[in-house]
Amino acid sequence: MHVLHNMVNTVRPGGTVLDLQVIRPNPRVEVAERLICEVDGSPLFRRADAATDAIDALIAAGRLLEEAVDDHDVRTHYPSGADLVDDFEDKQRRLPEEAIPALRTIEPPCVLRERCRLRRITVRCAADAWC
């Protein structure tokens, strides 16, 4: 992956890469912490999986060293269900079609909860050096 190599090259040997990605399970739409529906996260998971694979390949090659992983939930807050539906109109991820009419009627604040992973990785050596 050209982007990864380009970016890793900007970091000095011994420096740090922090990679933030969305991970499974599917994002959840919640009202007052009660599940309303799940969002198909596969478009984002495909990209995240490719990025993870690219980093893992550099780890396997000895160029990078994974040192720590932090999984955490992140919430995006919407004033209402209709605001959430409107925000998804131009997104790759799709709300379930059958849930949209009911979501539009939800008046209290809604939350989109996503699982994310942060990895701390050390750059072991420069691109043109033996590790």
């Binding site: 992956m1 050209h2 982007v3 990864l4 380009n6 970016m7 890793v8 090259n9 900007t10 970091v11 000095r12 040997p13 420096g15 740090t16 890469v17 922090l18 990679d19 933030l20 990605q21 969305v22 984002l44 995240a48 490719a50 990025a51 690219a54 980093i55 720590a68 932090d70 955490h72 939930d73 992140v74 919430r75 995006t76 807050h77 919407y78 004033p79 605001d83 959430l84 925000d87 994310c116 942060l118 990895r119 701390r120 420069a126 691109a127």
Partner: protein, 98 residues
């Protein structure tokens, strides 16, 4: 936009758990409107933050506090387009950007 992303600052808390930004020269890819950039910048020696979305970068620039103006540089570019000296940063932050 009426949404509020991560008001609990869960991302920033995770970054602080795993990263030590003190005195670090940081390059950030996928900075968007600078939400995470602003959270880490004060600790760093400087942040160069990229995003291909010109409108998001403009929002980031317009909301940059004056006390961080000498420490943060926002630029419009994708990861493929970035050209910087190899090894010139201590820490790279990729925000959903690889």
């Amino acid at each position: 936009m009426s949404r509020v992303i991560d008001p609990e600052a869960a991302h920033l808390a995770a970054l602080r758990r795993l990263g030590d930004f003190r005195g670090q020269r940081v390059v950030e890819l996928g900075c968007g409107d600078g939400r995470l950039t602003l959270g880490i910048a004060a600790d760093t020696a400087g942040v160069v933050a990229f995003d291909p979305d010109a409108e998001a970068v403009e929002r980031a620039r317009s909301s940059l506090p004056i006390e961080l103006a000498q420490r943060v540089a926002y630029q419009v570019a994708s990861g493929k387009e970035i050209e910087v000296e190899p090894g010139s940063f201590d820490l790279a932050l990729f925000s959903w950007s690889l």
